[in-house]
């Protein structure tokens, strides 16, 4: 196994192309090194993208944000403006692992690991984040929701990798939130995750919403029915009841060592309602 740390995106593309399939992109490494150690992967070459400046930067861009794919979770948490605009996205990223993991783990890695339980992806999708993908044929844009196609599977072609994420401008009277359930208070993989992003009018009525669930299906789940339950409503029991029901109906979870079908289904509604309450409050006070 070889290790390469290209300094530019083009170099990285070239290295990946040359390896034709035998290469593995290394961002934070918090999943990759575990898989390497367990013998789950055995690449010929590891391509470390952390030496590419653009991939390590957070920039304000047409009133939104451009977040490099290899930015560490802790760096996102320390970015005051980003945290003020997209608290849900930042708190989702910060939920991943321990302080030590936060020093390494990246949104790019979390997305491309393609786990149905990824924490930052539901919040990013609720925020309508897009990502830039670089490859041998140039650049293309993809919604964060379309990168993972199944557990461990991505839509990335040979030699392609994620360069950055783009969060839109935060509209007035809008807010987002992400909650997950884990058995302990830290260090576990999400049993259920729920990201909510809402915009309100002056009367506190919801004019736009996106609700996304994690760990309840083979892929991160955007739930339009759940969003519809909120649009046109204030945060009252009826709306929450409809949100709860829509989330439960959308779940297609499995029984595994981390949770049961029954449990995940029930808790998806509970978390969506709790996340919605936080998102509404943030929208009101924004």
């Amino acid at each position: 196994m070889r290790y390469q740390a290209p300094g530019t995106i083009d170099e990285a593309v070239a290295v990946l192309a040359a390896a034709n399939g035998g290469a593995q992109v290394l961002a934070g490494g918090t999943d990759l090194l575990v898989q390497l150690r367990a013998g789950m992967i055995g690449p010929e070459v590891i391509v470390d993208i952390k030496r590419i400046p653009e991939l390590r930067a957070i920039a304000v861009e047409n009133d939104g944000f451009r977040i490099g794919a290899a930015v560490a979770g802790a760096e996102m948490g320390e970015h005051a403006a980003l945290k003020a605009s997209w608290p849900g996205v930042v708190e989702a990223m910060e939920l991943i692992g321990s302080t030590q993991i936060q020093g390494r783990a990246t949104p790019g890695g979390n997305l491309c690991n393609a786990s149905p339980a990824a924490d930052c992806v539901p919040a990013m999708l609720a925020a309508s984040a897009m990502c830039t993908i670089a490859g041998p044929t140039g650049r293309r844009d993809l919604s964060v929701g379309d990168v993972a196609t199944g557990p461990g599977q991505t839509a990335l072609g040979k030699g392609e990798f994620v360069v950055d994420f783009r969060l839109p401008e935060r509209p007035p009277r809008s807010g987002d939130a992400y909650l997950r359930f884990i058995p302990r208070t830290e260090m576990d993989i999400a049993v259920v995750g729920a990201g909510v992003n809402v915009t309100l009018d002056n009367d506190g009525v919801c004019t736009a919403a996106r609700v996304v669930l994690g760990a309840v299906a083979p892929r991160i789940l955007l739930v339009p029915e759940a969003a519809a339950a909120l649009v046109g409503a204030r945060l009252d029991d009826d709306a929450l009841g409809r949100l709860d029901a829509a989330c439960r109906a959308a779940c297609r979870p499995i029984d595994d060592k981390r949770g049961t079908i029954v449990y995940r289904t029930k808790v998806s509604g509970v978390l969506a309602c709790r996340a919605a309450a936080i998102a509404f409050e943030r929208a009101r006070t924004s």
Partner: protein, 761 residues
Amino acid sequence: MTTNGNGSTQGNGLKWVGKRTIRPDGVDKVTGRAQFGADFTLPGMIVGQVLRSPHAHANIRSIKTDKAEALPGVKAVVTSADFPELPSTFEAAGEVMLNFRDMSCNVLARKKVLYHGHAVAAVAATSVAVADQALALIEVDYEILPHVIDVIEAMAPDAPLLHDDMFTIGVEPTPDKPSNIAKRVEYGLGDIEAGFKAADVVVEREFTTKAVHQGYIEPHAAVATASEDGQCHIWCSTQGQFVVRAYVSKLLGLEISQLRVTPSEIGGGFGGKTVVYLEPLALALSLKCHRPVKMVMSREEVFQASGPTSGAHVWVKVGATKDGRITAAEAVLKYQAGAVQGSPIMPGCMCAFAPYDLENVKVVGFDVVSNRPKVAAYRAPGAPISEFGVECVIDEVANKIGMDAIAFREKNAAREGTHAAYGPRFGPVGYTETLRVAKEHPHYHAPLGPNQGRGVASGFWFNIGGDSSAALHINEDGTATVISGCPDIGGSRASLVIMAAEILGIDVDRVRPIIADTSSIGYSFLTGGSRVTFATGMAVIQAAEDVVRQLRERAAMIWEIDVEAVVWENGEARPSGSNAGEFDPLSLGDIAAKAGKTGGPINGHASLNAQGAGPAFGTHICDVEVDKETGRVTVLRYTAVQDAGKAIHPSYVEGQIQGGAVQGIGWALNEEYIYDEKGRLENAGFLDYRIPVASDMPMIDAVIVEVPNPKHPFGVRGVGEVPLCPPMAAVANAVAAATGLRMADLPISPPKLLEAIDNGL
């Protein structure tokens, strides 16, 4: 944290005992200097790796190792063929009786693999990478057999059979058909039928507990070397260098004098490092290639192949009168032993009802094998499981008759002279004191909020004594060295030097401890059973008294008076009175400086088999809050009261209590071995085997009660085991108080509790 002195006469006038001194090994451990198992290296050292079974149960048709042996860099390969076949008899090894055929089969599978992760072969090579390649080249032809994981299923007549020569011991007549039930045991007093007839209230309930791992953070590690003349040396992380010597020499057919074992610093054990896994493999490999061989388990191997404690099925029935007197108590305990016999079923049975004064009691226990790793000791082996069921039922009975949970326990508590449920009468014990202190603790009277509940539970452990040796060397400048044979797993060096300094009457900083290898100190049983401060402490005290006697003799020589006329006070020899003569006191330093002129070096020694270990009790109070929408249980407040007899170093006594309580909370809420349908362990790592993290826990208020053990010079009982007994019931009782739901199956994980809440179970 507070210390409730309890009129301990031994507590009076002590200079060092009871002081919170800085531990002698502390600086090495906060600077990274301390050498643990995996930190040790030798010149020319190579590494060993283990090939493990991918199946839960299979016959081994053949093992072909020739390709592995041919791989460049491979220095040795061993299988069970390299180990002598041992008879299935219980033989003495050091202090304990063990079945060495079973131990040998667990170290390396013979004919059959009995669990997922069972060691099949081991390789020594010049690097981990080469060793791993070699493992892949070993061809094992398995005939997969049906497996059984659950204890109840394993007891079924048609269950897959692990050992065709296992005929249940303890039933008359001995069965003619083999089964997975190794043994049946029974304890009892009085007439339970009559007892239950006399009861106004009877509560009967079934419980299950899951196998849980000790969870020490340091994986097993060993370095072994064997020279061409057969002299062997092992450096390893263990709770007992002498038991490693006894086991490994027996497993490999060596004479004990051929083998020297040096213990490293030990990164946690809790009972799990009282047995051998890598040590005999590393030595067998070194005996073949005569290179030092280092072996370190991965975390996955620790979970797959080292001992958890038993999962179990527990049935408990308790009857009481309206006014709160228990009239009868009965329990049936079925414990998983793992792949070979030897669950802690006997102590489980003996401890079940030990906290109570019962006229009519019966406990029946079964030791059951299944396709899991062989269980190993875990704090108070067996007791936390049976006491969990009993303390839950005690709580229900108290509720039914409308009596306060502590008052009900007080009314039935074992006291001095009480016949323990397992037979003998208790001497002075501190159970009622722990109940009184718990009842008076502000925690017990603090208000609770919505969805919150409070639970109480008590626990018991015998504590043990046993063989210990110690030496005390007086150096030329009057400083001293304490030498013992028990690894320091949680601060015992500190308690040993405190006791030595107390007897010698010198500054504790002038006494340095070392833990010697098996060739440098007399036999000492392992660190376990809460015995070191008690038993090894006794040996240290006797060695120090031996030194004081010699110091008085030397002073008598120097003063040319009768030794009877010399007293030892505050580290000095003085004439006993004016008629003894007028002499300036002689300090330890003065006498040490003249040692050569007065007969040579001054050293004390003591070897003993400590009897009279003091039984100990604890009572815990736990507050929880339940999230009724997610089933999450949050521990809000926790208080643990325990009788330590005498706390030599209160901080490390508190530490034992706090650590045990948190391990118990983990056992209660999240920890469990999870198997897939093929019998493979699914959560062999710290990610999904969820031990408590710092943010899960509140502060743990450890309250020390001191009812001295009359058999120990300072009153020590031992503290390490008891703290793991009460927590599971304390948590379950608190959850019951918060929800009205009796959760009888551990762990009380969110999916289980939410299901119970939604079904109003």
